[in-house]
Amino acid sequence: MIGVDLYLSQPFAQHALIAGALVALTCGLIGPFVVTRGMAFAVHGTSELAFTGAAGGLVVADNPIAGALVGALLVAAVIGLLGVHERERDSAIGVILAFGLGLGVLLLSYYHGFATAATNILFGDIFGVSNDELLGLVAIGIAVTVVMIVIYRPLLFASVDPDVASARGVPVRLLGIVFLLTLAFTVTEAAQVVGTLLVLSLAITPAAAAQRLSPNPLVVTGLSVLFAMVACEGGLLASLVSTTVKPSVFVTSISFGIYVVARAVAPTLRHRRRPGVAPDATMV
């Protein structure tokens, strides 16, 4: 444990934990909407294309984060244009994803810098980012958080009840596009910690676990942020203890563990909430 104390006094570890907290906050905030809107695959597609962007950024400008952001925004725009139909959207994402990954591998073959660069894009390298990059991540984190708080209520309305929301004057389509862009920024951020391949462990898993535990949207959002925070910061700390393993391994493991526990305790909670009431008993 002495090792951890030593690391925690180092700026690189402190910065990583700050960035990790922001990543967890933003992922925890968008997660419940990703689950409710059935966009898990869109998140995966966006992060895979962030990999392609990062590979491109690495080759062109030696800047994988900017490249990842461009890639993620591009695919978010395409998903937004493809529109609303979930099934159509998913198959289109699959098509783009496969092509994008191939393109990313091609781009990496032109890169002759550090050999670990590719693995870092795929599996994350939060301890390796520079001060400037961290500042950028902090800025993105704050921006995403502010946007999510501002659009929270109408976005929730539009996500669960689009017909009535539209009649009540909620700009359903516009909110969908704003959410996609927010998602792109969040995915790019999260990819720095867990890598583009494992973004789902922060953007989906905590929200899916939270959803098992409460039907109250605000509670779900709170729990989702908490779970993402525990997984992210816990993973970073654990990797300071055993430095040979990448933080993303711990992050995904803790995240998955929380989900398993949530699934296990959910039936008990549910039973307590509505004890012994048959679905139609109140109507008679």
Partner: protein, 282 residues
């Protein structure tokens, strides 16, 4: 009589297809208007016009003194019943609250006045017992009561309902339509109720608007739901039979068939909708 909804020479077309035209309609405060007709007759689109979600192709619509506009909070809207996913993290209480402030920016924090209004609306539809349960775990009837509470929580002057009884059993149909009718009387709320079957609401209905292939008829149920009137609308022999207060509409093709719901079999045996159209009355 002051009309809260007015349509003058209203028409609605999709390309060359006429849903209805030259429609004249005036709905008064506290009036219960049922909108009937086969699938594709433009019943739902009529509601969309009144909600400001679809423009008229011709003519003029007036809702509470001005042109229809999206987000008019003097209108309550109950959409077609769509079941919520069982694991959707949303309570009936949250759905009802959307009817009050769902369009506002920010996070829905606790606010005493809003919580009280939501509680009242939930109690008024008898949903207090299950308003905190996940909405996806409720029955269709329970969900529909909460939908009505959502539409009424803002105390609207007009209530637009799109097939609110669909997929409910008979007891639930009666309970839900009684709720709507009671509100209409208590607060003088005008109700426009789109349905394919008039029987569950027949005792509440003041007037019927019947739309068929671009033609329409309007009047008290006893005047519109007649063999002559519907035969003229459908342009094919139609029999309207009163069975102990239940109105059964049978197309001639149906006779001898073993149908139990009567009404919605009309569009099954009808000739192609590409027939010439024109309103029955001008």
């Amino acid at each position: 009589m002051s009309a809260v909804i007015e349509l003058r020479d209203g028409s609605l077309r999709y390309g060359t297809r006429v849903l209805w035209e030259h429609l004249e309609l005036a709905v008064a405060s506290g009036e219960f208007l049922a909108v009937l007709g086969p699938n594709g007759a433009g019943k739902t689109t009529l509601l969309k016009v009144l909600l400001g979600l679809a423009p008229l192709s011709g003519g003029q619509a007036t809702v509470l003194g001005s042109a229809p506009r999206r987000g008019d909070h003097r209108i309550g809207y109950v959409p077609q019943q769509k079941a919520f996913d069982a694991d959707l993290p949303l309570r009936g209480r949250d759905l009802v609250r959307f009817g009050l402030d769902g369009h506002r920016r920010g996070v829905p924090l606790a606010n005493r006045a809003i919580l009280a209004a939501v509680d009242d609306a939930i109690a008024a539809v008898g949903a207090t017992g299950y308003a905190d349960a996940p909405i996806g775990e409720l029955s269709g009837g329970e969900q529909q009561r909460l939908r009505i509470a959502q539409a009424l929580v803002g105390d609207p002057r007009i209530l637009l309902c799109d097939e609110p009884l669909l997929s409910l059993d008979l007891a639930q149909q009666q309970a839900v339509s009684r709720l709507i009718d009671a509100r209409s009387h208590e607060r003088d709320t005008a109700v426009v109720f789109v349905t394919h079957d008039i029987n569950p609401i027949i005792e509440h209905v003041d007037r019927v608007l019947y739309l068929v292939e671009g033609r329409w008829a309007i009047g008290p149920p006893g005047d519109v739901m007649t063999t002559e009137q519907l035969t003229a609308l459908y342009r094919t022999p139609v029999d309207v039979v009163d069975v102990r207060g239940r109105i059964i509409v049978i197309s001639s093709d149906d006779i001898g068939g073993a149908h139990d719901h009567g009404h919605h079999h009309l569009d099954v045996g009808l000739p192609s909708r590409r027939a010439t159209r024109g309103p029955v009355r001008r």
